[in-house]
């Protein structure tokens, strides 16, 4: 008998009497999916929020936020940057990126999380090897809580997807909170609709 069949047979033999699967409500509450609630959650998780530039020039905004940045790589055509992501051959090539830019699919007001998939990153390591990450988010694309977030069912057909909430962090030594553990050191959300000027 293969290990597979052996394990499954033992599980089947030992399973207790069946119990029902409950329905999961969405627990809607005020203030629901508001941008303000989302921003508060982002800040709490160590993220930052930047107002969109009045003139719509996002490259200019990145220049102001990160004056020392040498390599800027954008996965969204709304920004030019100086490292075209279409030319990246290996995931490790993004190790020298100072600032990565990407547009999130939607945000979660409860936690300040941003949903991103391989389609948004184009190269997944952009969200982890870059020192800093700037995430554009359409303010009309904020859901109230994680129940709603997980009901965006089609999103979970992505090969890879992540709820990113603030920068990478650790408190493994004496509980001291460090932002910038192994991945991005800062995460800045810019609430701006796609193609808005």
């Amino acid at each position: 008998m293969s290990s597979r069949d052996d394990v499954l047979a033992r599980v089947r033999r030992n399973q207790p009497a069946p119990r029902p699967l409950p329905a999961v409500p969405t627990f809607d509450t005020d203030p629901g999916s508001s941008l303000e609630r989302f921003k508060t959650a982002v800040l709490r998780m160590g993220g930052k929020v930047a107002d969109p530039p009045a003139d719509g020039d996002l490259d200019n905004l990145i220049g102001r936020l990160f004056p020392d940045a040498k390599v800027i790589c954008s996965a969204t055509p709304e920004l030019v940057g100086n490292r075209p992501i279409g030319e990246v051959r290996e995931p490790a090539d993004l190790d020298d990126v100072d600032v990565g830019v990407v547009r999130a699919v939607y945000g979660v007001a409860e936690t300040g999380s941003l949903w991103l998939t391989e389609a948004e990153f184009r190269v997944n390591t952009l969200g982890f090897l870059a020192q800093h990450l700037v995430v554009l988010l359409d303010p009309s694309r904020i859901v109230g809580n994680l129940h709603h977030a997980y009901r965006e069912r089609a999103q979970f057909d992505a090969g890879y997807g992540v709820f990113m909430t603030g920068p990478s962090a650790t408190a493994d030594i004496e509980g001291v909170l460090i932002h910038g553990a192994q991945g991005i050191r800062t995460l800045t959300v810019v609430p701006v609709a796609a193609g808005s000027k």
């Binding site: 290990s3 394990v7 999961v24 004496e174 991005i184």
Partner: protein, 458 residues
């Protein structure tokens, strides 16, 4: 196999007073943060009930859900392997790696691979394993197992970390600044991510409906371990399966709130399809779980989502440290899981509890932990796994507690004893209650004496 002596392990931990005090405070702080989060969610108790019911449903249909998970994961392009036990798990991982000539493995934290003792197995076969979670890395470099399932090095102070890092990764031994230490690890680890042949994670959840592996982390190391190498291996205990994507909403809302008191982990990653030109392997591991599923009193422990809330709240765990349990899983959840692996070896662990029920009260999936601890004590006593001294003490206690006259005489005598016995008889090695504490002064009279005097006539 040698029986773990939890009391002896604890006494070592208690001797280092600054460590003990910090450990106690740090974990209680996590418990308080957890309380604050749960109190902010009006539906918290309902979420616990839902989480428990979803897990119980899944476990009572586990074989079907495992097959569904396997089917979907295979359709996604992942390779699914099955391991009966730890040895088979380790062998499978080794064969996957050696067949592709992979010599280096960067890995995220996984209690399962600790349970399987995978690291030494691979190291003996020439594979370099790099733990990339900061706490787990500290423990790897110090050649110790994790002492906590969420914060593996919580029993160490920053000066301990400074020593471990200076001996192993060349940091300044005198510099114990936490920012410096964390940054040093970041700089040291990054090149390993960039050149590793393979990456590995555990799983917090495996979704049957989609074949998705869900990993909750804060440091970014799990994603770096998956997105850089050409080979990704996920080791998953069979109890981690849940039916559908929407169920994640319930569990993700509670996991980090229970563990660290934060609303969510910085990263909740969903790995489903290997990226182009790479391979994804999933090893589904039994290692005693299917047997536990058939234990009518204990199968509920399989609901555990490994948040560690029961450890943070446990007064015994906070004051004895995870290493004193001598097992992969420590604290209250360890106390009820470990004896299923080896009853004799872990027979002292169910006694490392005050049975105060706090573990049960904070458990996000409503495992009746303290009741299970009590049941393990009964089994251990029935199977004569109690140490001789405890057996004799229990016999005396049984006689005294079943006879009211004897009981009253004993209580009155104990009160008088505390007041009048010389110190050396109370604070001696024969009286465990006099260790590391002052015995409180005895009341003027017993409750019964008070009751007879004040209420007895009515």
């Amino acid at each position: 196999m040698k029986r773990i002596d939890h009391a002896e392990g604890s006494s070592k931990f208690i001797k280092a007073k600054d460590h003990l005090d910090f450990h106690d405070k740090r974990l209680w702080d996590l418990r308080k943060k957890r309380d604050r989060e749960s109190e902010h969610l009006p539906e918290w108790e309902e979420l616990r009930t839902l989480a428990s019911a979803i897990k119980e449903h899944t476990l009572t249909h586990l074989a079907d859900y495992l097959e569904e998970f396997e089917r979907n994961a295979t359709r996604n392009g992942a390779h699914v392997h099955w391991a009966k036990d730890a040895a088979e798990h380790n062998q499978i991982v080794f064969e996957i790696m050696s067949a592709r000539n992979a010599r280096t493995l960067v890995k995220a934290k996984s209690m399962l691979t600790d349970e399987c003792e995978m690291r030494p197995f691979l190291a003996n076969r020439g594979i370099e394993v790099m733990e990339t979670d900061l706490g787990e890395r500290i423990q790897q470099l110090d050649d110790e197992p994790p002492s906590h399932i969420v914060v593996p090095a919580v029993h160490k102070l920053k000066t301990d970390v400074a020593r471990v890092f200076s001996e192993n990764i060349g940091t300044d031994p005198k510099n114990s600044d936490v920012h410096y230490l964390a940054e040093s690890q970041r700089q040291h680890t990054r090149p390993y991510f960039l050149k590793a042949d393979a990456g590995m994670t555990g799983a917090n959840f495996a979704v049957a409906e989609t074949g998705t592996v869900v990993v909750c982390t804060n440091e970014g190391n799990a994603d770096l371990s998956v997105h850089l190498p050409k080979l990704y291996i996920a080791s998953i205990g069979i109890e981690k399966v849940i039916p559908r994507i929407e169920h994640l909403g319930v569990f993700i809302r509670m996991l980090s709130r229970s563990a660290l008191g934060s609303p969510i982990t910085q990263l909740t990653s969903h790995f489903r399809v290997p990226r182009e030109g790479t391979e994804m392997h999933i090893v589904l591991v039994d290692n005693g779980r299917s047997e536990r599923l058939g234990m009518s009193d204990f199968w509920y422990s399989l609901k555990c989502i490994r948040c560690g809330a029961c450890m943070n709240t446990c007064p015994v765990y906070r004051r004895s440290g995870g290493l004193s349990y001598g097992a992969t899983y420590s604290g209250p959840i360890g106390v009820i899981i470990d004896p299923t692996f080896n009853l004799r070896k872990y027979s002292s662990l169910p006694f490392a509890s005050t049975l105060n029920g706090s573990c049960t009260a904070v458990c996000p999936v409503r495992i009746n932990i303290h009741e299970q601890i009590y049941k393990w004590r009964q089994i251990i006593a029935e199977r004569h796994q109690l140490p001789f001294v405890k057996q004799q003490a229990m016999k005396v206690a049984g006689k005294v507690l079943s006879n009211p006259k004897l009981y009253r005489a004993a209580v009155e005598g104990a009160g008088a004893g505390i007041e009048h016995l010389p110190r050396f008889t109370i604070y001696s090695r024969f009286n465990a209650w006099g260790k590391q504490r002052e015995v409180p002064s005895a009341p003027q009279f017993t409750f019964r004496q008070w009751y007879v005097k004040n209420r007895g006539k009515k």
